[in-house]
């Protein structure tokens, strides 16, 4: 059997290899040289624009509406510290050398994308990371913008100084081209094709002149401004050769950036043979050097990323002073490996900082698949809720540092439900609910059995190897309630696949949420994502022949007509107040359904940094997920040699710094 599968797999590989070499669409790649023949897609791009005249619209500046209220949000407080010093080398660890330098397409959605795109390039406007509220973007590539809400259109004027790192200015050509690129099938990125697709989220892009454009979106949701301003244009001049061989042709080309750090050709040459590290250089004449909101950030002159595969090795490198910082979120590191009493901390060589941030929380917890026979019974789900000892997990594994998650959408400010609290560990209540479901007797192993002799045993799917002890605690405590949980730890992608195929009883998982103004519900809770045809024609009666819908995020296979109606209203709503009310109703229905057991949240991040790393007075910004995301830190290079020398000289010490920044800590 195994052999047959293997044979089948190898046949597939062979077939793929054959088709690859005979594919007429890829003559350039088959040439066998390093630089495939140059092609120019200008005609193709222009033809595409012409073929979609309703989406790509060209007008003149005279066509701009006269009454637009242009703004540049100049009154928002500036982030970063004027005390900062530019220069120095920032050493950081990456786990693997990146498989590609592309920012889109196969293999590009990995951790390295952060350096090429997320934290280091400029979009038209950014969400202010320190100010709450719906209107809090500040300009980056844009100079100003104007919102025409009734027509669902955002007008943007580009900053005349905005330049790509290889020279040309950023123009509206690059905006048009961004849509062409991300709609193109050449990039092999279905998510992009879908999100940027014509009529999906965006219905029109209009060019007025070199610097002025407008984007019209499908629905005037409260986050309409973010959907336009947070786009980043694509450098038209760089992507001239995009064609069917895009993934290979562009695999090792560094995309010109609007951000400060670039890969020099010399560095790219070096990394062809040496893949132990990769270094980004800061452009000394970066166009946004003196721009408000950017002039105090991105301070190090070099960003050196070292490949260190094992975390213990990275830890040793940090202690040796070869890395500037080390994340201390795990209790073991914070309390045991480098406690506050460690001489390196008390002598002020290493600083420890804890920062309480205020962001939407990843919702770690157990997701119960209500399509499973046992879990279809709400009494059993309620019993499980009371049988899970998350408090003990928080106490023992996280050493009381974490707190309990209460709803699947915590951390959205006043959009989160203010009063719902997760159910506590309560064996008496668990027993009561299990008894109501027919599980009254205990078997010889202490697990509950019902009258038909079935054991109360469920599989618990897990994809996080480091968090396995969490599940062992839950398992051992649940035994007290007579509930047997079989932990199934798989490789993270295999585990996720299993959950996406809805082959789980309970799944331990979390959805990571970006900093967004309000939670999303449709993906996780709409019946469309649970079954193909959830209800009969009357819209209420469950369809007896319904089939599970796989590859969706509705992990609980929730299908409740009232919930569907609320979600639809929520998704169409154009008013935050109405959405807030709807969100609360949705959360209450979810609470009553009891198919998600909220786990834990880490309300802070912790970091240890060498003494020469400096941060602004308040350490960091309110909506940040890690200390370096906004690049507010700087290096005090003169302090580096003296600190390193003091490592071995016990007579030397500096003022210690062990600080907790609690200005954004939630008040209980």
């Amino acid at each position: 059997m195994l052999l047959r599968r293997l044979l089948a797999a190898s046949c597939l590989i062979l077939l793929a290899a054959c088709s690859g070499s005979k594919d007429p669409a890829a003559p350039a790649a088959a040439g066998g040289t390093d630089s495939p023949a140059a092609i120019d897609n200008t005609a193709e791009v222009q033809a595409y624009y012409a073929a979609h005249p309703d989406f790509f619209v060209v007008k003149t500046p005279a066509d701009l509406p006269a009454d637009l209220a242009w703004t540049d949000a100049g009154d928002l407080p500036e982030i970063g510290s004027p005390d900062r010093v530019r220069g120095g080398t920032w050493n950081e660890r990456i786990q693997d050398f990146p498989p590609t330098l592309r920012i889109v397409g196969p293999d590009s959605n990995n951790g390295f994308r952060n350096y090429l795109l997320d934290d280091y390039t400029l979009r038209f406007g950014h969400l202010h990371p320190d100010v709450a509220g719906p209107h809090r973007h500040f300009p980056a590539l844009a100079e100003a913008w104007a919102v025409d809400a009734p027509n669902r259109t955002v007008y943007v004027r580009l900053d005349p100084k905005a330049r790509w790192s290889d020279g040309p200015p950023v123009t509206t050509d690059d905006v048009f081209f961004m849509f062409w690129l991300y709609q193109s099938s050449y990039i092999q990125a279905p998510w992009y094709n879908n999100w940027y697709g014509i009529g999906e989220n965006y219905v029109r892009v209009t060019r007025y002149d070199e610097r002025t454009f407008a984007v019209t979106i499908k629905e005037a949701r409260p986050d309409m401004l973010a959907r336009v301003l947070e786009l980043s244009p694509a450098p038209r001049h760089f992507y001239r050769e995009v064609g069917p061989d895009f993934p290979t042709r562009y695999n090792w080309r560094f995309v010109p950036t609007t951000g400060p750090y670039v890969l020099t050709p010399a560095e790219q040459q070096r990394t062809l043979t040496n893949r132990n590290s990769i270094t980004f250089e800061r452009q000394s004449d970066w166009w946004a050097n003196d721009k408000r909101q950017f002039r105090y950030r991105f301070n190090p002159a070099q960003l050196r990323l070292r490949v260190i595969r094992e975390t213990p090795t990275a830890w040793e490198a940090f202690l040796a002073g070869e890395l500037e910082a080390f994340g201390m979120n795990l209790a073991e590191y914070h309390y045991d490996r480098l406690p506050d009493t460690d001489p390196r901390v008390t002598r002020g060589l290493i600083h420890k900082s804890t920062f309480f941030n205020d962001i939407p929380r990843p919702n770690y917890g157990l997701w119960m698949n209500t399509a499973r026979p046992l879990l279809a019974d709400r009494e059993i789900r309620l019993g499980i809720q009371y049988a899970l000892n998350w408090q003990l997990v928080i106490k023992q594994f996280f050493r009381d540092g974490y707190s309990r998650l209460n709803t699947p959408s915590d951390g959205f400010g006043d959009m989160s439900h203010p009063t719902l609290r997760a159910r506590p560990f309560d064996l008496a209540l668990a027993g009561e609910h299990f008894a109501k479901a027919g599980f009254r007797r205990r078997g010889p192993d202490g697990i509950l059995v019902n009258d038909a002799g079935a054991r109360l045993s469920l599989t618990l799917n897990n994809g996080y190897e480091v968090l396995t002890p969490v599940l062992v605690i839950l398992q051992q405590e649940a035994r007290k309630a007579g509930l047997d949980l079989q932990i199934e730890t798989l490789d993270s992608s295999a585990s996720w696949k299993k959950v996406q195929e809805k082959n789980h009883d309970l799944a331990f998982a979390a959805f990571n949420v970006g900093v967004e103004p309000f939670p999303r519900y449709w993906e996780n809770y709409h019946s469309k994502n649970a079954y193909d045809q959830a209800f009969l024609a009357d819209g209420v009666t469950p369809n007896p022949e319904r089939k599970l819908k796989v590859q969706t995020n509705n992990l609980q296979t929730i299908a409740i007509p009232a919930l569907d109606a609320l979600i639809t209203r929520y998704d169409r709503s154009e008013s935050l107040d109405e959405m807030r009310g709807l969100a609360r109703q949705i959360e209450e229905i979810l609470y009553e359904d009891a198919s998600f057991s909220p786990g834990f949240v880490r309300p802070f991040y912790r970091v240890a940094t060498w003494r020469w790393v400096r941060f602004p007075e308040n350490f960091n910004v309110r909506f940040s997920t890690d200390p370096f995301e906004q690049n507010l830190h700087w290096l005090d290079e003169p302090a580096r040699p003296e600190t390193l020398a003091a490592r071995r000289d016990e007579s030397k010490s500096f003022p210690p710094s062990v600080r907790s920044y609690e200005q954004w800590k939630a008040k209980e």
Binding site: L2, E465, V472, I473, R479, K480
Partner: protein, 354 residues
């Protein structure tokens, strides 16, 4: 059939006994195996004997006894250490003659021994009877070692059975039938040996929950090949001997010739390989557990302990020391036994033909 040992076998056993190092290793190892079989009597969270209100309980084996059995207010398994403290503190109980007799190490392998404290490895503590300390999840290391050893033995037993079953069967058939069949199976073996075993384990471990059965199956699937070659040559050799020809002339079938005549004469080869196969099995289970592709959590295993130990080399050296010493000890014992068996069964000393 009564056990009758032929004179040559008796001679071999005598020779084995005379090899002191191997013989003593065998005795120690046998002792460890017996100990692992009855480990509950020495290492367990369950009490050996409880006398409660005039009734006797022997909780070691069988189903759980809920706390209510002993007048406690819960339905899950009794915490016998707690029960002992309670009975000790209660003069009425003492007057009744109630007592709890706990095993020498009163902890189970997956039990969290410090339920009210942080997860943190704790150094050996004789007063609390954590003779080897606790691991990163507050579990007693000695208990995990002992039960991990038991799992390793069970694994090794199944592995040896599987490998010998397949290897002997195919090897004999190859040697006995020869010709096209032999050629064909040889080629299959050559191809099969070139499949990277570890990758396959990683793939399988990613797709299914790797229980003991799965692990044995995968390991056997990639472990049977080397034995076939030895069996094949032995069978080739034995088949050509006069006694095999005589049996055939007398009308014995293939099965009878192979099983009754050829197989017993190749036993020396088979026996000498057993200890090394066992060592290999324990080693590979530990390696797989170490890499995280082994038995499902929270099953006690040496590989898991070693992996914890290497991650906490400076913080908790007792973890890696315990696991490493245990593993070294057992593998050395097995190897000593193996060497002695090989020497005792050396055909050059006993055979009449060579």
């Amino acid at each position: 059939m009564p056990l009758r040992l032929d004179p040559i076998t008796r001679k071999k056993l005598r020779r084995f006994r005379s090899l002191r190092r191997g013989y003593w290793s065998f005795l120690v190892l046998a002792g460890l195996v017996v100990f692992a079989c009855v480990a509950e009597l020495f290492v367990s969270q369950r009490a050996l004997v409880v006398r409660h209100e005039g009734r006797w309980f022997f909780p070691t084996y069988g189903g759980i006894l809920p706390g209510r059995t002993f007048g406690l207010d819960y339905d899950w398994e009794t915490d016998y250490r707690d029960l002992r403290t309670r009975l000790g503190a209660d003069p009425a109980a003492a007057a009744r003659g109630d007592f709890v007799l706990l095993p020498f190490v009163p902890y189970g392998p997956i039990e969290n021994c410090y339920p009210d404290q942080f997860f943190k490895p704790r150094a050996p503590d004789l007063a609390r009877r954590h003779f080897l300390g606790t691991d990163t999840q507050n579990r007693d290391i000695l208990a995990r070692l002992v039960y991990g050893f038991r799992h390793a033995l069970i694994f090794a037993a199944w592995f040896v059975a599987g490998v010998y079953g397949l290897g002997v069967l195919l090897g004999c058939a190859m040697g006995y039938y020869g010709g096209v069949f032999d050629l064909l199976v040889q080629r299959v073996i050559e191809i099969w040996s070139n499949i990277p075993f570890l990758y396959l384990v990683i793939i399988v471990a990613a797709l299914v929950k790797p229980g003991l059965g799965w692990l044995v199956a995968i390991n056997v699937a990639f472990g049977w090949m080397h034995l076939t070659y030895y069996m094949r040559t032995e069978t080739y050799k034995e088949k050509a001997r006069d006694y095999a020809a005589a049996a055939r002339v007398l009308g014995a079938g293939d099965a009878r010739i192979i099983l009754r005549h050829i197989l017993p004469n190749t036993a020396a080869t088979l026996v000498t390989f057993i200890p090394f196969t066992v060592a290999g099995a324990i080693g590979s289970l530990t390696a797989l557990d170490f890499l995280g592709f082994g038995l499902p959590v929270p099953t006690p295993s040496w590989g898991e302990l070693l992996s914890q130990g290497t991650k906490n080399l400076t913080l908790a050296p007792w973890i890696v020391l315990s696991a490493f010493s245990a593993m070294t000890l057992v593998l050395i014992l097995v190897t000593f036994v193996g060497e002695a068996v090989r020497e005792a069964f050396d055909p050059k000393k006993f055979t009449l033909y060579r």
